[in-house]
């Protein structure tokens, strides 16, 4: 299974496996990675799965959807590399991806 690494705001790294087709949010919640709440269950309706995608992976994850763009405008501390990770679907192409979680999701 492809792997994904979440790096917490305090620097702690969590590398977990994610099934192809699952979202990064799902992988984080299933493995109890701190810093990702995913309150809406992945409906792109809560903006509590905000991450910063590492530069090397930015082009591979694809673009933001329109709904995601709107939702992100309500998240705190967004940057150019912000994404809602319930909208990033795991695939072999993303094996090894690294994302950072923000200081808080609320």
């Amino acid at each position: 299974m492809p792997k994904v690494t979440f790096i917490e705001h305090n620097g702690t790294a969590h590398t977990v496996e994610a099934a192809n087709g699952d979202s990064l949010m799902r992988a984080a919640v299933d493995n109890n990675v701190p810093g990702i709440d995913g309150d809406c269950g992945g409906e792109c309706a809560c903006a509590t799965c905000h991450v910063y995608v590492e530069a090397a992976w930015w082009d591979k994850v694809g673009g933001r959807t329109e709904t995601e763009e709107t939702m992100l405008s309500f998240a705190a501390a967004t940057k150019d590399n912000s994404r809602l990770c319930c909208q990033i679907t795991m695939s072999d192409a993303l094996d090894g991806i690294v994302v950072h979680t923000p200081d808080g999701q609320h």
Binding site: N32, D39, G41
Partner: protein
């Protein structure tokens, strides 16, 4: 090392276990469940799952691997039947004894029973558990006529799914309008119109005298004398909190298990969270009880913080959602007691928000297919900020600038 035992394994219990482990709690955690199988999400039961857009494995709150990896004990199919407060242990139906340093009651709620003749007939069902939803889903395709008793969120969500399947739906409500307790007159009227537009017959100020049928439900006799034929009757007239076990243990119980601002019961070693807990909230006249995923999750996070040595009073902004057909309703705040509403957007467009005020103080914002309004409202209501009625009604006013 201290140990935590939780009675119940629903939204609140699972979030508590997850948050405790995220906070590096190292003691044993045991969840006592009355059902078998992986703990699951309830909201999709009356929405995506029932409509066939989500399968059963996707309902699990966490995969099986979570419990092993996080070292969370799950006792399945063995309900807790008593609490021994002096011995600090919980006794289950099978006679097992689970000792605790801290006990958490996360027992949720149960469907309110319909007190009329015929309510026990086969074909009269409720919708709270996965078992009930699974049974309902299995027969949905063969139904021609259903009667839903109660125009609350679950009744209306089911009605929307059934109507979409081409089933003739009648919804019976005793109150003057649907969702009387949950939403404003404006939102209620819009939703009533939408359901009627989908072909549903919605009767308000109508009571139920009996469920008729020999051997199984065949119809519903109304207070008007009319008998509405039905292949199936869904009873959705609200829930009652599961307080029995707390009551037997001599803990304070009202409309729920009574807790203080820290979510502790009158025994400091026992807390209660989620649907079963009656808690104080600023601005409310007495203890309140909420039935929402937000409330269950946020109370679980708050209690986890206290057990991890970071106590704080519970004070999260309530929010809620309900999907009915293509309509996505989202509510931020509690609208109870509002005396004025202001519309943002045009209901005729199908996307609008209702701002609910009391004495010019904003209490809540109800949004239909307008997630950005909801997100903005959650942010500024949580921050204690407000918008004036004039700002709310002004489409050019950017809600994101309020803080």
């Amino acid at each position: 090392m201290s140990s935590v035992v939780v009675i119940g394994a629903g939204h609140a219990a699972i979030q508590l276990a997850a948050s405790l482990r995220q906070g590096r709690f190292e003691g044993p955690i045991t969840l006592i469940a009355d059902a078998a199988g992986l703990p699951y999400q309830r909201p999709p039961l009356s929405k995506a799952y029932l409509a066939g857009h989500m399968d059963e494995p996707a309902l699990a709150l966490r995969p099986a691997s979570f419990y092993a990896a996080q070292s969370v004990g799950l006792v399945e199919n063995d309900p807790a039947v008593a609490i021994d407060r002096t011995g600090r242990s919980v006794i289950t139906a099978l006679g097992a004894r689970h000792g605790y340093d801290h006990l958490v009651l996360a027992t949720g709620a149960a469907n309110r029973a319909l007190p009329v003749p015929g309510a026990e007939l086969p074909g009269v069902v409720g919708l709270r558990s996965l078992a009930e939803a699974r049974a309902l889903k299995a027969i949905l395709g063969g139904l021609r006529r259903v009667v839903v008793i109660g125009a609350g969120f679950i009744g209306l969500e089911f009605a929307a799914v059934a109507a979409e399947r081409g089933i003739a739906v009648t919804v019976i409500e005793a109150a003057p309008r649907p969702l009387m307790r949950g939403v404003s007159v404006d939102m209620s009227a819009h939703l009533a119109g939408a359901h009627r537009g989908w072909g549903t017959r919605l009767l308000t100020e109508t009571g139920v005298r009996a469920i008729t049928g020999s051997g199984r439900a065949e119809g519903v006799e109304l207070s008007t004398g009319e008998i509405v034929p039905a292949d199936l009757v869904l009873v959705a007239i609200g829930v009652v909190p599961n307080v029995q076990i707390a009551e037997q243990a001599d803990l304070a119980v009202g409309n729920g298990i009574v807790v203080d601002a820290m979510l502790a019961t009158d025994d400091p070693m026992i807390s209660a969270i989620g649907d079963c807990a009656a808690f104080p909230m600023a601005g409310q006249p007495g203890p309140i009880r909420l039935e929402s995923v937000q409330n269950a999750s946020d109370q679980a996070r708050c209690l986890a913080d206290r057990l991890l040595g970071k106590p704080a009073a519970y004070a999260k902004l309530p929010w809620f959602w309900s999907d009915q057909g293509a309509l996505k309703l989202q509510i931020a705040g509690l609208s109870g007691g509002h005396d004025r509403t202001v519309l943002r957007g045009d209901p005729a467009s199908g996307a609008f928000s209702v701002f609910c005020y009391r004495d010019d103080r904003l209490l809540a914002v109800e949004s239909l297919n307008r997630a950005p309004d909801h997100m903005a409202a959650r942010r500024f209501l949580a921050a204690g900020a407000s918008v004036t009625p004039a700002q709310a009604a002004d489409p050019m006013f950017d809600l994101r600038t309020v803080n």
